[in-house]
């Protein structure tokens, strides 16, 4: 009866005692999320289904974050359509243009619980696996099925567990760990598998660091990015939810489990180079790359701890003239905390531009697009060709520490060694 975390969660959700990798099951959904960009197609699909009511308005969460505030008539019309739907269906968990990035808002507001099944029509929904949920990205038509029935079919994935051990050096973060892992296994190295992060390094990480690992599971093709719930998870959930939850753990002898050992004690700060997220090099090897724009934010690295790390580097310093530096807190709560802690003063004094909580340049939507030949250094999760604007532009990915160092020098810069 040995099973992995994802098998245990999907067995419970599909009312089975046991499930095996490869099997297809129909599972009950605990939380379903759409945002302003993928919501409209979901509603169009839902319109074609012969039912008028969503299965359970309490289990649906709708944050607006990608195109906020509305910058075009199309975006405004989409927002209107979703607000009307929210009202008609009695959806209480609606977060309008001011609240923040979906993958921050959902955990922050207590919508993600260990042992549950969470789906979102956004590929980085795997972020919520950091709380021990089976959480995965789906499309809009799949989401229409969820809205109508509360269920969705899943192929039970095999699990690729990363046993991460060793103490991280100063200025080396969980972003460097996950970039390094993706560099090692490639951008389809975990295709169709559940990624699971374990080991003493992960156990010591706080929730902010853990979410970075889980967030980027999709970048190596993973279906979700699980971390077993523990005391850190319990502490994070304290005050955010009163609901009862049942955490699960992976049995070490589960048949569909594959383990990869990673030692991070010698790891240096990493950078993913254009145009592939697995084109990963130590930051010190790409220091000759000059940058036009630096972006600190996104569902990967827009949390308070990320802003604190960037502010520590930028305190009392000036950003190099000509380097546009955008700081975007991942949520309104984080924005307020950063203000209270004086971080925003540091960013403004250094010469950065602070934007409202949103996805920003990450998806090349409405803020901070780059032009032909321009270089962006970003703390987000994707450097696909054309991701942040022109297909002739280039995107590098790094931690907030490397991003802040680079904003000062104007070229990619590894933090000084101790």
């Amino acid at each position: 009866m040995s099973m992995t975390m994802s098998e245990k969660i999907l067995a419970r959700a599909s009312n089975n005692k046991k499930v095996e990798a490869g099997e297809i099951v129909m599972a009950d959904i605990d939380t379903a999320m759409v945002h302003d960009l993928t919501g409209p197609l979901t509603l169009q699909a839902l319109d074609q289904i012969n039912t008028d009511k969503v299965w359970d308005p309490e289990k649906i969460v709708i944050p607006f974050d990608h195109q906020v505030p509305a910058d075009t008539l199309d975006a405004a019309a989409n927002h209107q359509m979703l607000r009307k739907f929210v009202k008609e269906q009695g959806i209480e968990n609606f977060y309008d243009v001011y609240e923040g990035v979906c993958h921050q808002v959902l955990p922050e507001k207590g919508h993600v619980l260990p042992g549950t099944v969470v789906v979102g029509s956004d590929s980085h929904t795997c972020t919520h696996g950091a709380l021990g949920a089976f959480s995965t990205g789906i499309g809009s038509t799949d989401m229409a099925m969820v809205f109508a029935t509360g269920q969705l079919w899943f192929k039970i994935p095999e699990t690729l567990q990363f046993q991460i051990n060793g103490e991280l050096k100063e200025n080396v973060t969980s972003k460097d760990v996950i970039l390094n892992i993706i560099g090692q296994i490639g951008q389809d190295g975990a295709r169709y598998k559940a990624c699971e992060y374990a080991g003493e390094t992960v156990e010591k990480m706080d929730m902010s660091d853990r979410m970075v690992l889980s967030n980027m599971a999709i970048e190596c093709g993973g279906k979700t990015g699980l971390i077993a719930a523990d005391r850190v998870t319990q502490n994070y959930l304290n005050g955010r939810t009163n609901k009862v939850y049942t955490p699960v753990t992976t049995d070490p002898d589960a048949p569909s489990l594959e383990v990869m050992d990673i030692d991070v004690s010698d790891l240096e700060p990493q950078v993913a180079c254009p145009n592939y997220v697995d084109n990963v090099k130590p930051a010190s090897e790409v220091e000759d790359v000059e940058v036009d724009q630096v972006f600190i934010g996104s569902c990967t690295n827009g949390r308070l701890k990320d802003l604190q790390q960037a502010a520590k580097v930028l305190k009392g310093k000036k950003i190099k003239k000509g380097v546009r530096t955008l700081v975007i807190p991942a949520s309104r709560t984080i924005y307020k905390q950063a203000l209270d802690q004086g971080l925003m003063d540091i960013f403004i004094d250094a010469g950065a531009l602070i934007c409202n909580p949103c996805c920003g340049p990450c998806l090349g939507g409405h803020v901070g697009l780059i032009g032909d030949g321009e270089v962006s250094l970003s703390t987000s999760n994707r450097n696909f060709k054309g991701r942040q604007g022109s297909p002739e532009g280039k995107v590098y990915l790094s931690s907030p520490i490397v991003a802040a160092e680079s904003a000062i020098t104007g070229h990619i810069t590894a933090p000084e060694k101790n």
Partner: protein, 166 residues
């Protein structure tokens, strides 16, 4: 959906991602014809001019990696692409394409040898890929039964209406 598809090949490499297929700046659009106008713009601003109605994309591994945006397969279909053959597909894209009725065929062998503008024939039911230009045939992986059922019902919505909401 037709079970036998014939078309001219447009060739692409590995890791063709959803930002290449339909960039983020067009995600406020919902109508297929609007999305089709911007297909592949993240990859090449003028790629659309190469596409003729009924073309088949033949690509390497991990096609459709990245975003959950269903706008990407909708744009390909609306621009006239009949099917995509690749060595492998990213998970979410695979589901999305099936749900909206864009045929995907996973062919581990074949894509390397097939050239731009070759004519290919796909048999979805038999699981075969014929290169008519080069007179070669390959075996393709078959869809899981459940997905085939969705395609046979012309997509997930019809399947649901028939099985749950009739």
């Amino acid at each position: 959906m037709e079970k036998i598809i014939e078309g001219r090949v447009l060739k692409l490499g590995d890791d063709i991602d959803t930002d290449s297929i339909l960039p983020g700046r067009y995600l406020t659009l919902s109508e297929p014809e609007d999305l089709g106008k911007h297909v592949m713009e993240g990859y090449d601003l003028n790629y659309k001019d190469k596409i003729q109605e009924g073309d088949v994309i033949v690509a390497g591994s991990n096609f459709g990696c990245g975003s959950s945006r269903e706008h990407a397969p909708i744009a390909l279909k609306a621009a006239g692409i009949q099917a995509v053959v690749a060595k492998s597909f990213a998970r979410i894209f695979y589901r999305n394409a099936t749900n909206i009725g864009l045929a995907l065929v996973e062919a581990p062998e074949g894509p390397d040898e097939i050239n731009e503008e070759d004519i290919v024939e796909l048999n979805l039911e038999e699981g075969t890929l014929k290169n008519e230009t080069q007179d070669k045939e390959y075996t393709t992986t078959k869809l899981p039964e459940f997905m085939f059922e969705i395609l046979e019902n012309d997509g997930l919505i019809n399947y649901l209406n028939k099985t749950r909401f009739e």
